[in-house]
Subunit: 247 residues, 2 copies
Amino acid sequence: MKCLSCREEYDSNDAGTCKECYEEASETEEELKREIEDLKAKVAFLRFWSPLDHNHRSTTVPGLPYTDVVLLASDGPKDLPPIPIPAHKAVLVSRSPVFKAMLENEMEESRSGTIKISDVSYEALRAFINYLYTAEAVLDEPMAYDLLVLAEKYQVKHLKAYCEKFLVSKLNWDNSVMSYAFAHQQNAKLVVDAALSLITDNMDKLTKREEYMELVEKEPRLVVEIYEAYLAKQVNTAVHKDSSTKS
Amino acid sequence: MKCLSCREEYDSNDAGTCKECYEEASETEEELKREIEDLKAKVAFLRFWSPLDHNHRSTTVPGLPYTDVVLLASDGPKDLPPIPIPAHKAVLVSRSPVFKAMLENEMEESRSGTIKISDVSYEALRAFINYLYTAEAVLDEPMAYDLLVLAEKYQVKHLKAYCEKFLVSKLNWDNSVMSYAFAHQQNAKLVVDAALSLITDNMDKLTKREEYMELVEKEPRLVVEIYEAYLAKQVNTAVHKDSSTKS
């Protein structure tokens, strides 16, 4: 028989689908692709132009239309005043329940129209605000860490998930312990689980690592959790082996 | 052979794909579905809460946060003042080049913070503004016509395409001439083409219709276009017949 997709001959052992199912599957694929196109158009429509799109680091406030709040990153050079990042209250409030509470409850930030954010660089804050407008960010590892912290602090779930996925894709033995500890602080469960799985697969090498010793010193409870995960894995494997021997 | 998808036996004449292509196709489908999930999450994140979500027709201005402009529909009951629809200039400007020009060029609307829109009902204007925030609208035919007019006037392409698709799906012989004339006015090419195709398939019935006579009276050029399309179709069919007889 000839495969309708790759045009190669195959025999009955390598049979995939009948003609009917093949045609149905092609239709489904077409439909899914159309749905993707529709959704992409929707995203493009809903994506707010960002007030930061065309303004790289500069010392003047860009002349943006209708902004009503300014954000300041505290972590800039000490001898220069922080560069203000203009934004719209309506956007901040719609993206983050923390900004919502802050701005709607007539707190200092609401009265002054200025939100100061500590322990963050101008670049990270700028990328954060940009994400709130566009749902897009260019990530490398340091930026993903910074944005994950901001996403957790301001409860921007969509950004948090985006950073977590990126960090999981970058996990390796060298950064696993550090990632594990960091992810714990930020309640980043996806990263915690992935790092834990990597660490417990390499327990023989773990105790020699510097980061391990540091962790024992500073956060012994996290180390206990590693051992508990390791133990659970061993028990699990034993049960599996046992049942497969019996069957 | 057994189909891996429907589990039915089939013979070589009904062969669809080999196993390898079947598995590849399943993976592709999974990937496409994941992409759809990601895009849906993005849409949900980017979708602005609408200032109109929880406010059905009421006579008070709802207390919305940070709106800086009000829209008024002129087509309300004469003895009542129009109900203001509050919105954000930043949103209007980012969705419509016409609002952008209007608000950025220090026109009357920009100074007063009030945009009056003529020949539109409160309900249609409300649905229009809602769409600018959410990319969603509940359509029936009259609403699709109203929103298409607004989308064309304010150059909101995404909404225009949405209304056009809906109207094409509702095309039938009874509304075809009316739709054709309307779509022409609004430069709605998708609807024009679909209506034209339906009309030219039923030329024998056309001249008896009341709408046809009206169109001849009011917009004879549109009638000429119908005949031109009909002629082109006939020529095309003749060429096809000719070439298929020869082959």
